[in-house]
């Protein structure tokens, strides 16, 4: 299968890009839009926040995005319990008209690690309410199977802490999530450079989600384009099937017929000759 015909399907919707983008931390909306454009991403996350009661004037992020072109993915970032996440998910659906939700239940502010049990509880409830649930999770294969069983559309294991740029620290565990997954695995959080994204795709992840790696790059638009290429390269490499890893070297050139220095044991002129 060539990458050109190799679509990502989530909850019955087809996407040609395997890169999802968060919209946070960009210096301004212009830069954000240019980065989204350069990345080729089709799935875009947003957050839900209280209106400031004393200063309700605000720019409309949704006015900036061409919602016909993108699948909006509201998140429950900031929620610490399942109950909070349920409330935010319901508000998000009322607000955007979109029933996709990136479920985040994160009680831990230091590493922003998700609470697995609360995430599973919230996911089951939200699926029952008709949401398309994409949960942000620890790279735990058993949890992932549990989330699939309650009807989640993907699982989104973390590569390393959100916004850390530390890359694919959880690689070995993510491989166990990918192995046997029946829904797309989207590696989310901590990817810092394009090669991190390529690696995630190479080991069989179906997609990645990045935000800070672009927003905090010197050139967010350039980095967005680089991530777009990396995701395509990683996926193409995965589909092409990697070589086996060996402990020892294996020469690439023929071992026979190598030119050697003259052997002093071998006479230069044949005995009895000229």
């Amino acid at each position: 299968m060539s990458p050109g015909t190799d679509a990502l399907i989530i909850a019955g919707k087809t996407f040609h890009s395997r890169l999802m983008l968060g919209t946070g931390k960009f210096r301004d909306y212009g830069l954000m839009k240019a980065a989204i454009e350069a990345s080729g991403a089709q799935i875009i996350t947003v957050s839900i926040r209280r209106v400031e009661l004393n200063a309700p004037g605000h720019e409309g992020l949704l006015d900036e995005l061409d919602l016909g072109r993108y699948q909006l993915l509201p998140n429950t970032a900031g929620c610490r319990t399942a109950a909070e996440a349920l409330r935010v998910a319901r508000l998000a659906r009322a607000l955007t008209g979109v029933d996709w939700i990136k479920l985040e239940v994160i009680p831990d502010a230091r590493y922003l690690l998700p609470d697995s049990l609360e995430t599973l509880r919230a996911a089951e409830q939200l699926v029952g309410e008709g949401f398309t649930v994409l949960p942000y999770v620890q790279p735990d294969a058993l949890l992932a199977r549990g989330l699939e069983a309650v009807g989640c559309a993907t699982v989104m294991p973390l590569a390393s802490p959100i916004g850390s740029g530390r890359g694919l620290l959880a690689r070995a565990l993510i491989e166990t999530v990918i192995d046997g997954a029946s829904v797309p695995v989207v590696v989310d959080a901590g990817l810092g450079v394009p090669s991190d994204a390529a690696q995630a795709l190479e080991i069989g992840a179906d997609a990645v989600l990045v935000n800070t790696a672009l927003a905090e790059a010197d050139d967010p638009v350039g980095m967005a384009a680089a991530f777009g290429l990396a995701v395509r390269a990683g996926r193409a490499g995965y589909l092409a099937g990697r070589m086996a890893v060996r402990t020892y070297a294996s020469p690439s050139s023929p071992v026979a017929g190598v030119v050697r220095l003259p052997d002093p044991e071998v006479p230069v002129s044949a005995p009895g000759g000229g």
Partner: protein
């Protein structure tokens, strides 16, 4: 009553519509939770607010 986590002086004449108007909120850009009922801003019913009600008014922001 509470609005966005802050206590708000209740009045018997207060409805969801009058509250949004007093807050200066453009309804089409927000969603509202009235206790356990959730509404797109433009479809908020003009119902009375009781003294113990909990109201959330939210909007979309950038985020990852």
């Amino acid at each position: 009553m509470q609005v966005n986590g802050t206590s708000f002086p209740h009045r018997p004449d207060l409805t969801l519509h009058t509250l949004l108007k007093e807050l200066g909120v453009q309804p089409e850009r927000v969603a509202v939770a009235h206790n356990e009922a959730f509404y797109p801003g433009a479809q908020v019913p003009d119902v009375p607010i009781e003294a113990g009600d909990v109201i959330e008014v939210v909007r979309v922001m950038a985020g990852g």
